[in-house]
Symmetry: C2
Amino acid sequence: MVTHRIALIPGDGIGQEVTPAASRVLEAVGARHGISFSYDEFDWSCARYAEQDAMMPADGLDRIRHHDAVLLGAVGDPSVPDHVSLWGLLIPIRRSFRQYVNLRPVKVFDGVESPVRGAGAMDLVVVRENVEGEYSEVGGRFGRGFAEEMAVQESVFTRAGVERIADYAFRLAGRRRGHVTSATKSNGIVHTMPFWDEVVAEKALSFPDVTLHSEHIDALCAKVVLDPARFDVIVGSNLFGDILSDLTAAVAGSIGIAPSANINPERDFPSMFEPVHGSAPDIAGKGVANPLGAIWTAALMLDHLGHPDAAAEVERAIADVLATTPIRTPDLGGTASTGE
Amino acid sequence: MVTHRIALIPGDGIGQEVTPAASRVLEAVGARHGISFSYDEFDWSCARYAEQDAMMPADGLDRIRHHDAVLLGAVGDPSVPDHVSLWGLLIPIRRSFRQYVNLRPVKVFDGVESPVRGAGAMDLVVVRENVEGEYSEVGGRFGRGFAEEMAVQESVFTRAGVERIADYAFRLAGRRRGHVTSATKSNGIVHTMPFWDEVVAEKALSFPDVTLHSEHIDALCAKVVLDPARFDVIVGSNLFGDILSDLTAAVAGSIGIAPSANINPERDFPSMFEPVHGSAPDIAGKGVANPLGAIWTAALMLDHLGHPDAAAEVERAIADVLATTPIRTPDLGGTASTGE
Ligand SMILES: CC(C)[C@H](C(=O)O)[C@@H](O)C(=O)O
Ligand SMILES: CC(C)[C@H](C(=O)O)[C@@H](O)C(=O)O
């Protein structure tokens, strides 16, 4: 019996409802595979912010630094500006723990209807750079309140940062169908994106069995709609990866199912696992949130913790429920509760 | 009889094939409305670059500065890096002539199949900021070839720049269904995007009859797929507008039909009209390019030149051909030639 110490941060809104569902699934699959979990739960959230003026305590990162993984529900509430809630919790964890890979698998399960014709065979992973790029603290405001007012923001791409995310994408593609699509915009964003292209292309030379295509983000978004089944691994910057993962999940008909993993491949810090859906204040508290996003996320965590068989079992269970039962939460057109 | 002087830049690839189709339509509709066109044609293109090492002559901008409008086919060829061809022609025209509005209407014509279920009622305009933002010359490379190499790029948003594009969007929405969606990413891009949001929200106060919603670009791209008919006017930065216009055109099933106008609303410089599709080297020279993008673009030009009736007639002709005849170029699943 192996025990993993998990830092559990249910967070806001439906995060409170989907994380218990995920931990029940983890108990069940763990029992079959000799894995147990010990949870430390943290109340870090917008609710905490309202009381204590901080999303997490000053030593928050130290408190979870030695856990094996962080499992997070959702962060965000209309009462707190998004950039406050996110830069007070999610983004510091991603950055301080060097979780430079944001992994978002997307596929169309049998029994889930995609809004896009021909999306049925879609099966891809978005590999998003997660700690640098367009999400940057460098910049600010000039001339506040005057006619000449302006805001500037620096995108920062480092060689090491682009190399390691490209490396991750090529390795992953090598274990899948051997194809990487790199999102770029080197025709418009003329300093950082040509650099991205150059470093990705150099890295491709080390992976002769993997093919690489670069596509401009505008055309790529169009192709995701027009020919979603053609993609295997899509690698993109922090911003482009963010856009592509939401878009591909929508095309697959499964925003409520989509999982994500914020991975520190070197394992010198814990990785963090969170469903793609947000806190969804509109349905929070009603018990109708789709737990499959959090459950699939738990499977990614199992895989990362060294239990690929248990992870595969959870994924199969998700596929089975969707393919063979009518149980669906309202986001998928059903009437089931989160608990069901 | 009024005569307009048009600078005609067919450009590369299928640009050479679709601009003649557009000018034939302009002749025909002009004859019925007492409008004539005198064209000065310019060979500015990647082909010119190959011979003369420049996309256009050094005094190129001066040569077209006094025309009433610029009609452009397409720019780009695999032999010339995109950032060279675009920053050598398209982008200098947009910027020097202060064409700060890039207007891209998207709708689903009867007889055109959208790849997305429920897109039939889609009818929107993307209003893209066209001269500042993420497409910036500020930035560069540090430590070239070394481990510490990095590239930085500054996004620059000015108060005047955001105000005038927001103003344009709200006015346009006032003449349409009264709804503006503003693309943002203020949760991730924490300096420029909160500024964008702030200036757009201030501007909204002057338009009490128009409603404003802001959506993060990731969620917005998802909603374009999930509920395309909900949008009226979408306003976005240079990059977000670029992404959204290709994506919305794809959702409408009509990349080959989509038009665009680069507008200088003050009319102190000519505006430029270009179809959204590129030079399409793969089909260039075969006479099968869809001319409807260029023809609809010509309608936008007519409208800008003060002939809304003639413009509406061209748009109706496009709708009629698609709704009542089987004539389709291959991109729409037919076998017609450009000329047909
Ligand atoms: C070619 C490129 C620079 C251009 C842009 O991004 O502006 C194109 O995508 C467009 O939309 O006109
Ligand atoms: C909430 C936001 C900052 C975040 C992001 O853009 O990274 C979210 O969209 C995500 O994808 O996890």
